[in-house]
């Protein structure tokens, strides 16, 4: 937790998209990232960008090169493009997950819902739609590395189970969808989803605004402040507790923060 808190300010700037003021990564040691991408130019640019931000990067053109690199060096994270010549990214993802627990981020074409869901089902830990912004790429890489190192005691998304159930509500972590007790799909923004997921992973525990902010940031490029946490919680509540007689889901603990009231179950 201290490491994460120390870097809050730096990340806050990083996700606003201003690269030249980005602080070098605050992770204890230089992480090794394997970029699997068939477009040479793109591979070079991603590598250059990640190196600039303090990572060690190796590029691979296809599955064969990927296995070669993995055999010869320890890799902390794989950035895997879905559209690859020969064995597709999805096949590689499944094969890779079968052999090791290395964190995987799938790079999918924007709007290709099936690729994303399939990727997550095949064991990818996160996905990033292409074309992605620099800030988004950096935030997702850092968040996944942080989770994989077990900071804040969080499980990795890939191991988190597909469905989280609380008070008859259901949260699908792969499709990023929330369903009400009567089965109605309730739309959430990206930030709201990440915040709710953070609550679910620490159910029935009081979380301070600062903790919530950190937890949500570990998920994705959440560019909020502590005040925006309050705003987002009020928005979440409006959706989770729409009427006056709806059961209380998120409780305000005066002076301490917020708490998810119902117990959480994990389902298939």
């Amino acid at each position: 937790m201290p490491a994460a808190r120390r870097s809050t300010a730096a990340r806050c700037r990083a996700v606003t998209g201003i690269i030249d003021v980005m602080a070098p990564d605050s992770l204890p040691q230089e992480a090794h990232i394997l970029v699997v991408e068939d477009d040479g130019e793109m591979r070079t640019l991603i590598a250059k960008f990640l190196r600039q931000n303090g990572f060690r990067v190796t590029g691979a053109r296809d599955g064969r090169e990927m296995w070669e690199v993995l055999a010869g060096a320890s890799v902390d994270l794989v950035l895997l493009d879905v559209m690859l010549p020969g064995a597709s990214g999805l096949d590689l993802c499944r094969a890779l997950r079968a052999r090791s627990g290395v964190p995987i981020i799938m790079v999918t074409a924007r709007g290709e819902e099936t690729d994303r869901v399939l990727g997550l089902e095949l064991g990818a830990d996160d996905y990033i739609p292409k074309p992605f912004g620099r800030a988004e790429l950096l935030a997702r890489v850092r968040a996944l590395l942080r989770r994989s190192r077990g900071e804040a005691g969080e499980p990795i998304a890939g191991q988190a189970g597909e469905r989280i159930l609380f008070a008859e509500w259901s949260l699908d972590t792969r499709r990023r969808e929330l369903s009400a007790p009567d089965g109605t799909a309730v739309d959430l923004s990206g930030g709201e989803f990440d915040l709710l997921l953070a609550f679910c992973e620490h159910a029935q525990r009081v979380l301070s605004r600062e903790q919530l902010l950190d937890l949500a940031r570990n998920r994705m490029a959440f560019s909020g402040t502590e005040r925006s946490v309050d705003v987002m919680i009020s928005r979440l509540r409006r959706k989770l507790e729409p009427t006056d007689d709806s059961p209380s889901i998120i409780k305000t603990v005066r002076g301490a923060g917020y708490m998810l009231v119902p117990p959480v179950k994990r389902g298939a």
């Binding site: 998209g17 250059k48 960008f49 924007r110 709007g111 292409k130 109605t184 309730v186 739309d187």
Partner: protein
């Protein structure tokens, strides 16, 4: 001509049946009339000849008899159709203005039986209320006495009810048969017009069955070929547009990364903003093209949560957007498609109207959503044109606002996929109102 058109049946089948019916009825009535005339003429002639012969015979017989036996014999010779009796003076007076019909009858009686002496014959109608059915007459004998007679001359009235009934029954029969036949003939034509209606709508292209009469078969074949050509043409264009849009993503992705190495932070931000715009255009183009072929599964979703997410996002981006309405509105829909529609309508209001008020009303049978802005609105003449793909009203709107020109097209198609409607109108107080109606069927 217009009135005639209105009287004509609307369908081809109806017209064929009408022509068939009118022709057959004319033929039927004509032959019926001719038949009746012929029968009547023959019957009349036979009867008149018989009457004349019997009168001649009676006259000869009675003239030979002594006076006291004459009346008795006349009675004895009477039958139901011809009643005779003998008197010294005629019981029938000479009618001065005898009708043409009586005269014709008189001369015909003479012609039919040559030895019938018609001089002095008196003829007239009986005064029985049925003028023309009872013929009264008196025939002078050589000694100046008279043989009086009365005859049922004319055929009893024909049973016209039966004729009318049989004619009607026949007409109804022809009509029913005609309808049946014409329906059979018209079926392939209807299939053709149904297919033409479906073509261009949602769903895959279905060829028309090539059956029926040769003309219709040829029309169906021609239609199928045309359908195939248009389908291939559209598919090719769609694929080309999709491929270009899709392939543009790789250079955009590279550019996004390259912008990170630009020393000038201001320039990097500007490049990022341009890339955002390009990406939004590609996204909406691909969403538009995808909407042609794909359909998202339906499931119950909360429209209010959907609209709140959109409003919150717009508000976070600095726009003045507010939601008013109930806290929940459940609708079975395709959520991603519908969210895109509302997103486009709200974006439009923010972009051109400086902000949006979203008002939702749940009417039970349907959900009404109003998206209002305070912008300049749209000229009434362009209300429909703005829904056309790639159409932008640059005359009244700032070119710098960008956009793909697909927002409203996608929104309307998404709502129509849900059997709803989108209407644009200028608000009396100024600004544009986008009115979405979604039925809960």
């Amino acid at each position: 001509m217009k009135r005639l058109n209105r009287l004509l049946p609307d369908t081809l089948g109806g017209r064929i049946v009408l022509v068939l019916l009118v022709g057959l009825m004319a033929f039927h009535l004509g032959s019926l009339w001719l038949h009746q005339i012929g029968t009547e003429a023959m019957l009349g002639t036979t009867r008149e000849a018989q009457l004349a012969e019997r009168l001649v015979a009676a006259k000869r017989a009675i003239a030979e008899l002594p006076i006291e036996e004459r009346d008795r014999t006349a009675h004895a010779l009477s039958t139901v159709s011809l009643d005779m009796h003998w008197t010294r003076a005629a019981t029938v007076q000479q009618v001065p203005d005898s009708s043409a019909r009586i005269n014709a009858l008189r001369s015909r009686l003479g012609e039919l039986v040559p030895e019938f002496d018609i001089t002095g014959l008196r003829l007239g109608y009986g005064d029985d209320g049925m003028a023309g059915h009872q013929l009264l007459g008196a025939l002078p004998l050589s000694d100046g006495s008279w043989l009086n007679f009365s005859a049922a001359l004319f055929r009893p009235p024909a049973s016209e009810h039966a004729t009318l009934l049989s004619t009607t029954a026949m007409a109804v029969g022809i009509l029913l048969l005609g309808l049946l036949v014409v329906r059979l003939i018209g079926r392939p034509l209807r299939a053709l017009s149904d297919a033409a209606d479906r073509f261009g709508g949602p769903g895959p292209v279905v060829p028309v069955p090539e059956e029926g009469p040769r003309e219709v078969r040829h029309a169906a074949q021609a239609f199928n070929r045309m359908q195939g050509r248009i389908d291939r043409l559209i598919a090719d264009r769609t694929q080309a547009l999709a491929a270009v849009s899709h392939d543009l993503r790789t250079p955009i992705a590279r550019l996004r990364l390259r912008a990170g190495f630009v020393e000038d932070g201001e320039a990097a931000r500007a490049i990022d903003a341009d890339l955002d715009e390009m990406e939004a255009m590609i996204d909406s183009t691909l969403a538009y093209l995808r909407g042609e072929t794909e359909s998202e599964p339906r499931k119950p979703a909360d429209l209010v949560a959907m609209i709140e997410t959109l409003c919150d996002a717009a508000a976070d981006a600095g726009a003045s957007v507010a939601y008013a309405g109930p806290s929940q509105a459940r609708l079975v829909c395709s959520p991603v498609t519908l969210k895109r529609a509302f997103s486009n309508l709200i974006d439009n209001a923010v972009k051109y109207g400086g902000g949006a008020r979203v008002i939702l009303e749940d009417k039970g049978q349907e959900i009404l959503v109003r998206i209002e802005d305070d912008g300049p609105g749209i000229p009434d003449a362009d209300m429909q044109a703005v829904f056309e793909p790639f159409r932008r009203l640059e005359t009244s709107r700032n070119r710098g606002t960008g956009g793909s020109g697909l927002g409203l097209t996608i929104a309307r198609r998404a709502v129509e996929q849900h059997d709803g409607t989108v209407q644009l109108s200028n608000r009396p107080a100024g600004g544009l109102l986008a009115f979405v109606r979604l039925p809960r069927s």
